[in-house]
Assembly symmetry: C2
Homo-oligomer: 303 residues x 2
Amino acid sequence: MARTDDRFRLAYQDLLTVIAKAEIGSDLPPELTLAEQLNISRTTVRAVLTAFADIGLIAWEGRKKTILRAPSGQDKLAMRDEYLPRDELERRFLQWVLRFDVPAGTPLNVAKLAKEFSVPPHVLQEFLSGLSQFGLVARRPRGGWLLLGFTAEYAIELSEFRAVLELNAVRVLVALPPGHPIWAQLTALEAQHIDLAARIDRDFHAFSPLDEAFHSAITSVVQNRFVKQFQKVITLIFHYHYQWDKRMERDRNAAAIGEHLAIIHALRSGDEAAAVQAAAAHLRTSKETLLASLRGNALIAPE
Amino acid sequence: MARTDDRFRLAYQDLLTVIAKAEIGSDLPPELTLAEQLNISRTTVRAVLTAFADIGLIAWEGRKKTILRAPSGQDKLAMRDEYLPRDELERRFLQWVLRFDVPAGTPLNVAKLAKEFSVPPHVLQEFLSGLSQFGLVARRPRGGWLLLGFTAEYAIELSEFRAVLELNAVRVLVALPPGHPIWAQLTALEAQHIDLAARIDRDFHAFSPLDEAFHSAITSVVQNRFVKQFQKVITLIFHYHYQWDKRMERDRNAAAIGEHLAIIHALRSGDEAAAVQAAAAHLRTSKETLLASLRGNALIAPE
DNA sequence: TTTTTTGTATAAAAAAATAAAAAACAATAG
DNA sequence: CTATTGTTTTTTATTTTTTTATACAAAAAA
């Protein structure tokens, strides 16, 4: 089979439940109506109707599609084993790359990896092509892929780029008028930070989502598709790493809370230089943490 | 044929010239040596040798590959019509999108476009997948591609992003020590600018490459793979537009030269604020020019 | 006996072929 | 004349096929 008939099978099931709800002897609506209801093309509707006529579920002649009997369990059509959805592939691949010590420079085998992640090869191919934009993998001159890997150098450059984007966001933010919704957002975040700081000994795990919320609030003031796109990778990678590096987690998070509060304070003051300085300090810490986690996970050799 | 045998044909030709230079009756080197010489795998070498044995050019038995006769014109193997190289596709596609009024939201037909640009469909597919990273095209939920197009909004966001990156570069640059090679580079560029300014009435076309050289010199001080990657698109798009918009070209370029010189001057002074200000002014002009060229080309409706 | 070279098998990537689904068009019933 | 169906054409997604690369074992030469 060249192309999966998942759409057909899905439509088959859907229409079966529609018929089950309808009365025996009644007529089905026109093909176009069914197509719109099931969100498929008329071609597929007709294929399903033909199948139903074949098993004697309906009588179909011209524009009369009469239900002959209630569908039984035998009429069901099993879905063929599905592949992984795309975001699950993303998650699993990143986990594989970042988590395990896949050394930089490893050649990737599309066919084998596709099997491993149970996706069709061309899906993996496209995924890799997307990743190559972020410099995590590269196409080899004569076919094949190379895992460039998440090296210390990569982490440094990523952190620096993050700093460029985020400091820009800070500069934009301080200049925003008091009526802008971001200020209310920051006040709410401040309260959450203070709240968490009070119970940090127990709930230091709760910091990770708060960190994400804080940074995405700040960067949200820059409405730029290019910035947003990169923000996605940055969040992804930082987020993944924080999840795994459990050393000193409590102290690290406590310190970060303090830095976040300092940034909020500086932003409120309207002093651009102060705000930039506070943000830069935090980003430096963040970079160090990322690098330390790399060394800790032995992805790179300890010095 | 599933895969092109270009490699085989190329190796065939290469080995033919090797044989033509060698003496009749002499033996060819081992397969591995030939493979290394021709930069192909042994499999392909063997395929070519088999072909040569078939046409009676060599006698091949075991490790003896004796040249029987000099190759004649008939022995040549024509290359099959080649597809476009990848960068030519890039050029042509961008030209098509940016130049002609392909409206935003046009669904793209991979098969048809592939024919039009004379590339295999999967090459175009991959190319589109790359472009989707820059937000010029997007994958439709149920298969197919959508041209998001080079709208005014896109141009604005691109310009802003460019400004973020370039102002960051300027901040890095002013802090560099006097011994850094960038200063010599800037001095050379300054001379070229002054030279061009003197003969701008005639040679205003020469500005485009100089502009590119100037901006890439400034951004080169930031050694960051993410920045570099975006620089590529930015250069591409700005460059394309400048090429076509011929209105006011002389005046525009003369003004830009002045702005460039002002930036160099401010950079030399070591005053960060002044340098940023000069660069920001130039980037604003640049953005306006890009937007004006969009309106001029009627890609978007004039206000 | 060791090294070099070849023969064979296996694997992988790219392009063509092909089936499914969508869209367009024409015909027909109401 | 409009709404719906029948039919054909396009288009996309996946599999199959073919070419190429690599790995391993066997044989020849040093």
